[in-house]
């Protein structure tokens, strides 16, 4: 603390200081001074919360869209279901619009038009990210479902299982295993995309960093700190995903 005050005074007075002294002062004021690290921690909490909610929405939505679209494409000729056809149409529009527009614009529309009276920006952000992620997840899952050998569906149906049960117990579990790497990738993108919600006022990690920046007028260290935290989170996530993947693969080889 004394060191910090002394060296900071040197920098403020325009005296020549060593690289280490400059680094120490910038680092100290970005993270330690006034316990500012706690602000980043609060930001991380929101980041994780938003990621979790968005992830959940994304998976549920993605699975729903993927299954409906696959079911629609796999209908027997002459047995077209009107409800399925309608849903398929709606979901196709959904995927097209979400994948075809920038996330920033989606955030603006959600934050200022659709939920114009809500000030829970984190929740609005989570919802937007979830809906966005759902479109990508849907296509990933759809690809996974299509990659499962057609004989699996035939075997399930030949036993008298209905389409839903065959999907649920046989096709989807196998598809999940196949798409886990791309799904993990989507989750990582999602985690980092939460930084966008600071634009509409979501108080996540980048918002916390910007707060410190607006006080210290120094942008490098708070942003580097935020980047480091993102990196840690992604590494942790990748590690967990690896464990999960190895478990799923247990049935392949022993």
């Amino acid at each position: 603390m004394q060191q910090f005050d002394a060296w900071k005074a040197l920098i403020t007075a325009g005296e020549p200081v060593s690289l280490w002294q400059r680094f120490y002062v910038y680092f100290y004021q970005a993270f330690i001074y006034k316990d500012r690290w706690q602000q980043y921690l609060n930001g991380v909490r929101t980041t994780l919360y938003v990621t979790a909610v968005a992830l959940l929405i994304g998976i549920i939505l993605g699975l729903l869209v993927a299954v409906v679209r696959t079911a629609h494409d796999q209908q027997r000729p002459g047995h077209k279901n009107i409800v399925l056809g309608f849903l398929n149409g709606v979901f196709r529009v959904y995927v097209t619009v979400i994948r075809g527009t920038p996330m920033m614009v989606q955030l603006m529309i959600m934050g200022f038009v659709i939920f114009s009276s809500s000030k829970d920006f984190a929740m609005v952000g989570a919802l937007t990210l979830g809906i966005n992620s759902g479109a990508y997840t849907a296509e990933i899952i759809r690809g996974g479902l299509m990659s499962v050998d057609a004989g699996q569906m035939e075997a399930g149906r030949s036993l008298g299982l209905n389409y839903t049960d065959t999907m649920r117990f046989i096709i989807v579990p196998q598809a999940v295993k196949a798409i886990l790497p791309s799904l993990g990738n989507e989750f990582i993108v999602l985690l980092k995309d939460t930084s966008l919600i600071s634009v509409i006022g979501g108080k996540e990690l980048i918002y916390a960093a910007r707060g410190v920046i607006s006080r210290t007028y120094e942008a490098m260290f708070p942003f580097l700190g935020a980047a480091f935290i993102y990196l840690l989170l992604v590494m942790l996530f990748t590690w967990l995903l690896g464990i999960f993947e190895r478990r799923l693969r247990a049935s392949d080889r022993r």
Binding site: S158, L159, R254
Partner: protein, 240 residues
């Protein structure tokens, strides 16, 4: 038990089955033979509507399979099927492979299904594999499990689609033995196969398909020792 009336199947412009009619009795073991591309697999897959007939009718146990109002899932529960590539579910243990369908379709309780599965596995000598995954089994073991999986639904008829074609030669015998036993026990079976020995020994009736047409049928003796049709004669000359 199964009545096939004027069955025709096209894949686009390709005529795969051309006006095939056939009747299969209860307890009968019918073997379908013919060259590759003759339509014999398609014929079998039409029986449980894995392929939708272009025209014609399939009647099973007095119920029209091809009628859109028929609950096809219910009908399929009475028609087991064994595939060339086994199609076991790789994400489940052997026991779960077998019990999934009877439990989900409420045919058996979980406990009953497991007891039955273990009993059936014991009969094909695989009771110690109940907790294994398909990837840990040999081809012959997988196919025996596939037969048990079909049997656990207590079907009225079993359809075999080239059950030994994907097996290493030394494993063919163990699968055929199981099938022979089933036939002896009076199971109604429709078998598409290239195993002429099996056809000769086990079949009650042999059906010869070529170019999507049913050209000749009869007892194994009639077919193998006194073939009438020219194409059947040249086919047998090649395979025997």
């Amino acid at each position: 038990m199964i009545d096939v009336k004027n069955l025709t199947k096209r894949f686009g412009d390709l005529l795969v089955l051309d006006d095939v009619s056939e009747h299969i009795d209860k307890g009968e073991c019918v073997v379908v033979i013919g060259p590759s591309g003759s339509g014999k697999s398609t014929f079998l897959r039409c029986l449980n509507l894995l392929e939708i007939p272009t025209s014609g009718e399939i009647v099973f146990g007095g119920v029209s399979m091809t009628d859109p109002k028929t609950d096809i899932n219910l009908m399929r529960q009475k028609m087991g099927m064994v595939f060339q590539h086994f199609n076991l579910f790789p994400n489940m243990t052997i026991l779960n492979n077998i019990t999934l369908a009877p439990v989900r379709t409420k045919k058996l309780t979980k406990a009953d299904a497991e007891a039955k599965a273990m009993d059936l596995l014991a009969r094909v000598g695989l009771q110690d594999k109940a907790g294994s995954y398909p990837a840990q089994l040999s081809g012959g073991q997988k196919q025996r499990v596939a037969i048990v999986r079909a049997l656990c639904m207590e079907p009225e008829v079993l359809l075999f689609d080239e059950p030994t074609s994907a097996l290493d030669p030394e494993m063919v015998g163990e699968v055929l033995d199981v099938m022979k036993r089933l036939a002896k026990q009076g199971m109604t079976m429709v078998v598409v196969t290239h195993e002429m020995g099996f056809a000769r020994e086990v079949a009650h009736r042999v059906v010869f398909l070529d170019g999507g047409k049913l050209l000749e049928q009869g007892t194994p003796q009639e077919i193998f020792e006194n073939p009438q049709n020219e194409r059947l004669r040249s086919f047998l000359a090649k395979v025997l």
